[in-house]
């Protein structure tokens, strides 16, 4: 199976590198939810706009928004 973002060999949905970013996104959502009331969608939009977010994490967030993953 190919990565849904970069077409490299996928581990699950994504390649090893994007998978790492995806796991980070999932994990950090818990912190965001504890810190402020925020929906998954808002969270994805926020991290997409944030200049501190890494490029792979942004690519995954963008993909998740496009896929309507909620």
């Amino acid at each position: 199976m190919k990565c849904r973002i970069c077409s490299k060999e996928a581990v699950k949905k994504y390649c090893e590198l994007h998978e790492k970013a995806y796991r980070n996104i999932l994990q950090k959502y818990e912190d965001w939810r504890r810190a402020t009331t925020i929906s998954w969608r808002e969270y994805l939009n926020d991290i997409l706009k944030n200049p501190c977010t890494g490029s792979w994490a942004k690519e995954v967030a963008e993909r998740l928004i496009l896929d309507g993953d909620s």
Binding site: L17, N24, A35, T36, I47, C52, G54
Partner: protein, 695 residues
Amino acid sequence: MVKYALIITEKPDAARRIAQALDRDGKPKKVEENGVPYFLAHRDRELVVVPALGHLYTVIHERGRRNYYPVFNFKWAPRHLAERGAKQIRTWVETISKLANDAEDFIAACDYDLEGSLIGYCILKYACENKESIAKRMKFSTLMKSELEKAYEKPFPQLNFSLIEAGRTRHEVDWLYGVNLSRALTLAARRWSGRYSTLSTGRVQGPTLKFLIGREKDIRSFVPTPYWAIKAETEIKKSTYEVEYERKRIEKKAEADAIVRACRGKIGKVKEVRVRKSIQKPPTPFDIGTLQTEAYSLFGYTPRRTLGIAQRLYLDALISYPRTSSQKLPPIIDYKKILNALSKEPAYKKPASKLLEKEELKPREGAKEDPAHPAIYPTGNLPERTLSDPEKRVWDLVIRRFMAVFGDKAIKQSVKVRLEVDSHSFFLRGRRILKEGWMQFYNPYVRTEETLLPTIKEGEIILLKQVIRDDKFTNPPPRYNPSSLLKKMEELGIGTKATRADIIETLYSRGYVTDERIVVTDLGFDIVDILSKCAPRVISVKLTRELEKKMELIQNNNEKRENILLEAVEQLKPQLEQFKEKEGPIGEALSNAIKRARMQERIIGDCPTCGTGTLMILYSRKTSKRFIGCTNYFKGICKTSFPLPQRGTVKPMGKTCSSCGWPLVRAQIRGRRPWRLCFNPSCPLKEERRKPNEM
């Protein structure tokens, strides 16, 4: 024919200095033969001082073609047999061989370290035909006349063979790794694509790139977490001061809002005023690593540049030998003499005189030692030529650091005022220097900020003028820069003080990393990805460090060269076999990576017309002429294109035009200065330039 002593030095400048110092009249005769300079000096006997050009000999493949691997048979040979651009080495070796024929005594006077010892040894063994066993060794740490004379009068009776053995082993092991792995990569890519591209990795280069990638992965997959801070200001005696909330980080937004509501516009009471004195010891003398770090943070010089400048200052006898790990300054260098000499320069007169007034001059020293050389220090000599600005800066830095290490401890006072507002605490901090101590000698390179507070007493009432919530996010780990990377390599114990800076430059020149705040390129990722799958041991930081430690043991006669070489071959062999088995897929992956890297190099930026396409340097199929075009052209969406100069090279600059914001390209024609080109035909800057011509 008069017999003479042949003195071999590492560089032509060192040969000139040594000849000048040893000649009875200080005026040696310079002779040039086929472009190779050497010096005739007269002292107690005739002396011929001949320089090398760094390494004249290198490790090469003993026999066979260049396009296969693994190769484990090697020999030492003149560099011109291995490197295309090293033709002059042939005449150099021939000249030295000729001079060796009539010499009755041989003295190695190369730098007293691993590389210098090896340079001298190879010349004595190969160019002078096995004179290494009878040669003497001069040891010096500066090119000052007095020190050179001493080193000549009392040379070591023989070369330092353990240092030479350590140097030889290092070169041989590096060759085994470098040639085999680089050939494996290059050949895999060439066999797949039919095109040649230089790909390389090495014993230290691979592990360095690997830990850079570790950091890059953390940065690229980083997701920030929000947190909040409380920013507050207070007014005391008509001056505004910033105060810190008791907690630097508040995890919940609602909690931060509650604190702001509770404290805004409130009056606080001073509960505690704590005054503390702290002592700051003088800095330690520079070893090469700390000099490189300091020059990077103060002047932005890369480690390699600093090393080059320091080397020039050493050859001008202005500073001591820079490739040292020592942070010690032994009294034998004569501190007073150096300070007296420096005081002749107006800029150093006052601080040097102040130090000379001290009863005892005792430097603060660091823990690091180097058996061959002391820490870097100024010789006290003043420049005989006009120094360039970077040279002046590094020289000044070395002088001021040298003076600072003899200074007294500095005393700082810090004041911490605790202000209570309801049940919340805020802190007001002040900082001042009570006694400058060593700092006065290290100015302007001291980095310290003073915050002076008015007199505040416990029980005093203070108004919190402003309290606001500051929205913050956690940051990704910082990127390495050449200086912090060098420090990290030193910490990890990979590479040597002489090679680390070059390894970093190689990573740049191969296109594995880019930018000053180091970003690993896709090609860099692919190289490490392939190596970690097929030859993981060769990029292991742990194994590299272990090998490094073993090589250090050779220097102390605790390990043998043969054992290390055998270990290197045993490590490499299975890894290379594994590599060969998978050469096809590796070649494909590498070729794709190279292709992507080449495409990446041609990307200019976003298309300003359609907004969705990317502008690239393209080549016309009809005319083969280059131009800038939008990638959406191939989808039939955008026809934007711009002409480019057809001569020379054109590269994207990664910057935008200050006037119109369009991406810039850098054009350069050989022999001319490069220029930046904004290809926007309606750029206001171009319009402005046109106007005077029209008038």
